[in-house]
Symmetry: C2
Subunit: 375 residues, 2 copies
């Protein structure tokens, strides 16, 4: 969620409003089926000494599984299993940081997140808060982190969020759902092993992949785009189409969806999401609806804004026989609707990207309520 | 020029031969028309102190131009203008390193390369040799560099080589033309300003863009490919087609060719080039033919290996009215041919990628001579 301005034109004078982001990329990436077995060797040179452990934050669906046994524990390394049932919270980050600080005499060698967007975002946030004082909620916003995080690595076990490559970690705070957007957020190392996504349920696979698809539709049709982000977004979109509408082998499909997520995440460098993400933030904040499914719930009703993208979405949904939940907003009060609408309308850069500077002419509280009521 | 093995299959046991490369990506990139004006601000936090200069290695076509005046010199920073008429040499690197060491009391804050592949490769090599003893020829090969280089930034002024993103710097040494392939070779910062490519002649624009195009054809049809490299290669190829066969505005065309080069360079992570590059190395070694034009000279005669790719190449060449030099090998002696053939046949990973393990059944000295004779 970067605020980007005037990306398309050449600045006449140096001015903070016309500066191009100096985008941080993940400095190390390994890709390959079975590459998870290289994790021990990859982490070894990052170990400060035997008393400074690696802490593995792992989705608790992997507790007592083969994958958990393959985590290369040595010395006093620790695995912390965490449920990804709910979106990551600032309070959760703060508790984890306090626990790690209390348990070990010094900073860990690093944090490794293994899981979906929730676990990856938690790993990023914990790594930041281990070296930056205060609560994680203090850092929600743009470029508020000033000290480098401890080394942190991300290993996705589901594809689509782009969390493995982005410079944000989106957290549900006491007052807002907002990312810690900073150059220190980006992972120092990412390991992409498509085999790890084998056990994902069809529904999860669909909703999380659609996070990438919807993100591409929003950024490619947005007003903030430049050639850098366009090229990544187009490739991600193409790969999504191959995966959800083509006839790939399961292995190829896992490979390609992992790359779609990667390129989709990169495309955010100089682009921005749009209507679905803005409204999905409202659903997430009020009801705890997870990001992937929340995007789908909103996007299905956005023909007005993204006619081709929504048509293709329905084609993919039907092909994979996905029934979206219904009546999600059926029993909400006026106050509930107002809360969601207020959260959504606060996402100014997203609306500007989708509809331009005059977005308020189209987007009114009534308009948003009418869409939320369909969900 | 990475040696990659068994990229497509899952390793049963951990084994150096089945390891996936932990690929170093450029950790910072800025993209945008006019972004060159941000260079001063980008370098500022990298300055060690006022006595440790930035050394700018700049293509001498920019001497006395507007661009040279825009280089943000402060303190004792220095510009060294260098001709890119010839391919970069190990002796040239060694002389530059000695000069910089003699002139300044301590290591510079960093090296900035501004130019095409030659200048970018020189900048990488000089940065490495400032902290690693001996001659640059000692490091030609794979993973022979053990100490981190000084900070180095790359700013391409022509698109296509991929040198801005690769982990190699290809140098002509006393005995061989070979890259310094290492994790320390990759730039710490890249600035992509498509406006800088405005003054390139049509011929240079074509030959250098074809470096990217040919590289994509070779890697996408090769045996070493995996989904990571395929996705980057496909995008680069698509962008090349838009640029050379589409009808883009000049601005869009510069933007897209810069991104084609970037993605093409990334695709090398888990792929390899093929027949044209192998044979072009022979031409470069014996005759000093530059890489871009050398690839074109060879590739035009490779219908047998890349039928579709060569057909499209001729379409692009005709559309842009490019007349390739003829009779380049007309007056060579038998010994000359043997030298080129020997250099080319030494490129084992390239041949394996192109034709599989049994490449020697197809590629004989006679076969290569018959192709060289057409050039």
């Amino acid at each position: 969620m970067e605020v980007k301005k005037d990306m398309g034109r050449k600045p006449e004078t140096i001015n903070v409003n016309t500066e191009y982001k100096n985008f941080p990329m993940v400095p190390r990436v390994v890709f390959g089926r079975g590459s998870f077995d290289q994790l021990g060797a990859i982490l070894m040179p990052r170990r400060k000494h035997s008393e400074a452990p690696f802490i593995f934050l792992v989705d608790d669906v992997f507790e007592n599984t083969e994958l958990a046994k393959r985590i290369p524990l040595i010395f006093n390394d620790q695995i912390i299993f965490i449920s990804a049932e709910e979106e990551p919270k600032t309070t959760q980050v703060d508790v984890l940081v306090d626990k790690i600080k209390a348990e070990f005499g010094e900073l860990p060698s690093g944090i490794v997140g293994i899981g979906g967007g929730t676990l990856l975002d938690l790993a990023k946030a914990v790594a930041i808060l281990l070296t930056n004082n205060g609560s994680s909620s203090d850092y929600q916003g743009w470029d508020l982190v000033h000290k480098p995080a401890v080394f942190h690595a991300g290993i996705p076990t589901i594809s689509g969020t782009g969390a493995e490559v982005s410079r944000t970690t989106v957290l549900l705070g006491p007052e807002k759902k907002l990312g810690i957007n900073s150059d220190h957020t980006t992972f120092d190392q990412v390991l992409l092993d498509p085999d790890l996504t084998q056990g994902v349920s069809k529904e999860q696979w669909f909703y999380t992949g659609m996070d990438c698809y919807i993100h591409c539709i929003e950024s490619l049709t947005g007003t903030y785009l430049n050639a850098f982000s366009q090229s990544y977004g187009e490739k991600a979109l193409e790969l999504c189409k191959e995966v959800y509408l083509g006839s790939l082998s399961p292995e190829e499909s896992r490979d390609k969806l992992m790359m779609a997520s990667w390129h989709g995440g990169m495309s955010i460098a100089y682009s921005q999401v749009g209507v679905a993400h803005a409204m999905s933030y409202g659903l997430g904040y009020l009801l705890g609806v997870k990001h992937g499914i929340g995007n789908c719930l909103v996007f299905q009703h956005l023909e007005e804004f993204y006619p081709e993208g929504v048509a293709l979405f329905h084609e993919m949904r039907q092909k994979h026989d996905i029934a979206l939940p219904q009546g999600v907003c059926a029993n909400l009060s006026d106050a509930d609707f107002e809360t969601m609408i207020s959260v959504a309308m606060n996402m100014v850069p997203l609306w500007e990207n989708a509809l331009g500077k005059n977005w308020r002419e189209t987007i009114t509280p009534e308009k948003l309520r009418s869409i939320y009521e369909k969900i």
